[in-house]
Structure formats: structure tokens, C-alpha cells
């Protein structure tokens, strides 16, 4: 009896994981689709560079190389340090990790 319960719970969890993974993949691909406009991407990167120079560039140069995952943590850190608004944070992130 306990064996069957274990199997049932495990199968339910596996199914849940599969559903979550598919949902994330779909969400990411739809995000990519919405961001696929090159002109819009370029505009937000330019604006991000402007915000970087205005807020961060006053104290230091941009990092020479940074991965997107690192960039997210760096920008969240700098949001607190440099008192950035949420909009500045997102635009600077697009500049650092396009």
C-alpha cells in the first residue's frame, strides 16, 4: 500500500515538474517573440547605455565582461547602491546583458 502511495506521489510530482518546465519554456519563447523586434531592442539598449552612463558611469567604468546571470545580480546590487528606479534597473540590465 505504502509502495503504491510513493509511486503515485512521485508520478504526480514528475507530472507537475513537466508541466512547470513546459510552461516556463512557452513563457520564455513568447518573451523572445515579443522582444524580437530588433529596432525596439536596439532602442532599449541605447537607452540602457544612457542610463548606465548617467547613474553608474559617474563612479566607475562598465565591467569588461559579464554574463547575463551575473549581470542580473550586479544590477540588483546597483539598484540599491545607486538608488535606481525599477525602470532604470531594467534598461541597464538590457544594456549589460542584451
Amino acid at each position: 500500500m505504502r509502495h503504491r502511495i510513493f509511486v503515485a506521489v512521485a508520478l504526480i510530482c514528475l507530472w507537475g515538474t513537466f508541466v512547470v518546465a513546459v510552461a516556463q519554456t512557452v513563457a520564455k519563447s513568447s518573451q523572445k517573440d515579443s522582444k524580437s523586434d530588433p529596432a525596439a531592442t536596439k532602442t532599449s539598449q541605447t537607452e540602457g547605455e544612457k542610463r548606465f552612463q548617467a547613474n553608474c558611469g559617474r563612479c566607475h567604468n562598465p565591467p569588461e565582461s559579464i554574463s547575463p546571470r551575473e549581470a542580473r545580480a550586479v544590477v540588483r546590487h546597483m539598484r540599491v547602491r545607486a538608488m535606481l528606479s525599477a525602470e532604470d534597473e531594467q534598461l541597464i540590465l538590457k544594456f549589460l546583458a542584451p
Partner: protein
């Protein structure tokens, strides 16, 4: 048995899935450096490591910390005798941040006291264009670190102007390495992006021992299109008043920022402090001090920077001395979890 294996497998998969979904990874950043300074006949050396740890939790929470670990190596009798060293460690901040909304971050823990701009924005060894802090920068910062809570953010942020603020309350702590004073205060700044100018003002009220107010004003100017940077501060307290102003001009217009000349940055700083009253433990010079300084920094590839400077220090009722400084700093950044390569 099969069920347990399946359950374990499922839990591992769930964990991996969550880890992949959790896009914000903790990072270890900061700077390392080696500094030497000669003041008059006294020479000392300081190897320094200043690690910064950033750990995001979810979308709104963040833990961040910075320490300063340094050795201080000098001759036993100042200018004579064998060299001796001591190790100094400081926890500069260890704070929990909550991004409540676009304009407000709530911070609790140990943080850099927000007064003026030097302590919060310039004191990091990989940012400061000179090796040491201006003498008057000790006004209004209560030792540099506060234990308590803080509210900060951008009150207004648009293309024409940005109004930023920070206000805090700090409690008394006498715990070794975690000392802080009972104070409250804050800073308000207005930044105009079109001209690259920020001006602001700071206030602090000390709520222990000799209760007193400190006032300050700061400016920061980085004109767009010019590799020029001008920063300055003025502050006043019962102990005295003073100012510092510094400028740096990166020669990147001569062949680009990565050319041999374009990596050079001449810098200048002038600082004066005028003592009004002797107050024990205020970390300020005991007499008036004037110090003009000239420097030359060189930005090498891979986040390495060389700092050199010469200054002449005029101290009231004492001998004037030359101050020569040389240093090298390296800024690093590592992810604390494996993942995408750079």
C-alpha cells in the same frame, strides 16, 4: 523501493527545475590591491582585499555585504627599525534589502552611513581615484558604518531630473568589529541627466555623548561627451568644517579609451579641514590641514588600475610633508554557482 527512487528522482528534478528558473545567482565581487605611501620619512604598505557578496532571493530580496581585509606594514619607529605588520579586518556592510517598489528600498542591518558621497559611492578601493579618504570625510558618517534600518531610492526619476534620497536610524553598538553610534539622518540629491550634474545635501543628528548636528553638501559633475569627472563635498559639525574637490580627465579622446595614451587619467584633489573644537573620537585631524594632490592613474586591461599621486600636506603647528602614493588595484567578479560562461 521503486517509489522511493522515483520520489528522490522527482525531488532532484524539482530542485534542478527551480534552480534553472531562479535566474539570479549569487556573486562574489570586489577588489584587491596593494598600496604604498610615503609621508615625510615614513613609508608604509597596505595589501588589501575588499570582497563584496551579493545574494538575491526571489524578485525583491537581496543580501549584500562588503568587508575590508588589510595588512598594515610599517617600520617599528616610523622611519627606522625593522618592518612590522598588523592585520585589520572590517565588516563594512551586511544588509538585507527589500525592494518595496520602484521608488523605495527598505534596508536593515549594517550599512554605509549615507552622508555626502565619499563614504557610500567612492570609498571602494577600485573606485577611489586616490588611495586615501579626504580628512574631512569623517564628518557626519559616525565612523562610516551604521547598524539599524534605512529607507532609500529614487523619489522621482524621469528624463529631466532624478531626486534620490536616503534616510536612516542607527543604534548604538559596542560589539567588537560591529561598532556603531546612535544617530539618525539622511541625504537628498537632485541629478539633472542632460548636464550630468548632481547636487545634494546631507544631515546627521548624533543621539549619544555630545549630541550634535552635522550638515553637508555635495556635487558630482560628469558632462556628457567629455571624459571629465568633478566631485566635491563640504561638511560642517561641532568639530570643524572642511571640503574636498577632485577632478579627473581620462585622455580617451587621444586615440580612444584603449590606446596607450587613452588609458591615462590625470587627477587633482584639493582638501582643507578647519578644526573648531577638539572632540574625542571624531576621527578628524586635531588641527587645520590643507592638502593639494596631483595624480596619474592608468587603466590597464582586465580591470587592473595603477594609481600614483603626489601631494603636499600643510598641517598647522607642524612640519609640512610631501605625500607620495603608489597603488595597484584589481576589480574582480565571480558567480558563486556554475552556469553560463561569459
Amino acid at each position: 523501493m521503486v517509489g522511493r527512487v522515483l520520489l528522490a528522482l522527482t525531488l532532484i528534478l524539482c530542485g534542478l527545475s527551480t534552480a534553472r528558473a531562479q535566474s539570479d545567482i549569487p556573486i562574489l565581487s570586489g577588489g584587491a590591491g596593494f598600496f604604498s605611501a610615503t609621508q615625510g620619512n615614513n613609508t608604509f604598505f597596505q595589501p588589501v582585499v575588499a570582497p563584496v557578496l551579493v545574494v538575491p532571493f526571489g524578485e525583491k530580496w537581496l543580501v549584500e555585504s562588503r568587508a575590508d581585509l588589510r595588512g598594515f606594514i610599517s617600520r617599528e619607529n616610523g622611519s627606522t627599525g625593522p618592518y612590522q605588520g598588523q592585520f585589520l579586518s572590517t565588516l563594512e556592510y551586511l544588509q538585507l534589502d527589500y525592494n518595496a517598489n520602484s521608488h523605495l528600498t527598505i534596508t536593515a542591518g549594517r550599512f554605509l552611513t549615507p552622508f555626502g558621497i565619499f563614504n557610500e559611492r567612492i570609498s571602494a578601493i577600485w573606485i577611489n581615484k586616490f588611495q586615501d579618504a579626504p580628512a574631512m570625510a569623517a564628518i557626519g558618517i559616525a565612523g562610516g558604518y551604521s547598524n539599524g534600518f534605512m529607507l532609500r531610492g529614487a523619489l522621482v526619476s524621469n528624463d529631466r531630473y532624478v531626486v534620490n534620497y536616503a534616510t536612516y536610524f542607527s543604534t548604538l553598538s559596542t560589539v567588537n568589529k560591529l561598532e556603531s553610534e546612535r544617530t539618525f539622518g539622511g541625504r537628498l540629491g537632485v541629478f539633472i541627466p542632460s548636464v550630468g550634474l548632481e547636487v545634494g545635501t546631507s544631515y546627521q543628528r548624533k543621539l549619544q555623548d555630545q549630541r550634535m548636528n552635522s550638515f553637508g553638501a555635495h556635487l558630482s559633475w560628469t558632462p556628457s561627451g567629455l571624459p571629465l569627472e568633478v566631485k566635491g563635498e563640504w561638511a560642517h559639525s561641532l568639530s570643524g568644517h572642511g571640503y574636498w574637490i577632485q577632478g579627473g580627465y581620462r585622455l580617451s579622446q587621444l586615440g580612444g579609451p584603449n590606446s596607450a595614451i587613452g588609458r591615462l587619467e590625470p587627477v587633482f584633489r584639493m582638501q582643507q579641514f578647519f578644526r573648531s573644537r577638539l572632540i574625542a573620537g571624531d576621527s578628524l585631524p586635531s588641527t587645520n590641514v590643507h592638502r593639494p594632490e596631483f595624480g596619474l592613474n592608468y587603466y590597464l586591461p582586465h580591470e587592473v588600475r595603477l594609481n600614483t599621486s603626489y601631494g603636499r600636506q600643510f598641517i598647522a603647528q607642524s612640519t609640512d610633508v610631501n605625500v607620495w602614493e603608489f597603488g595597484i588595484t584589481y576589480r574582480f567578479l565571480f558567480p558563486l554557482l556554475p552556469g553560463e560562461s561569459k
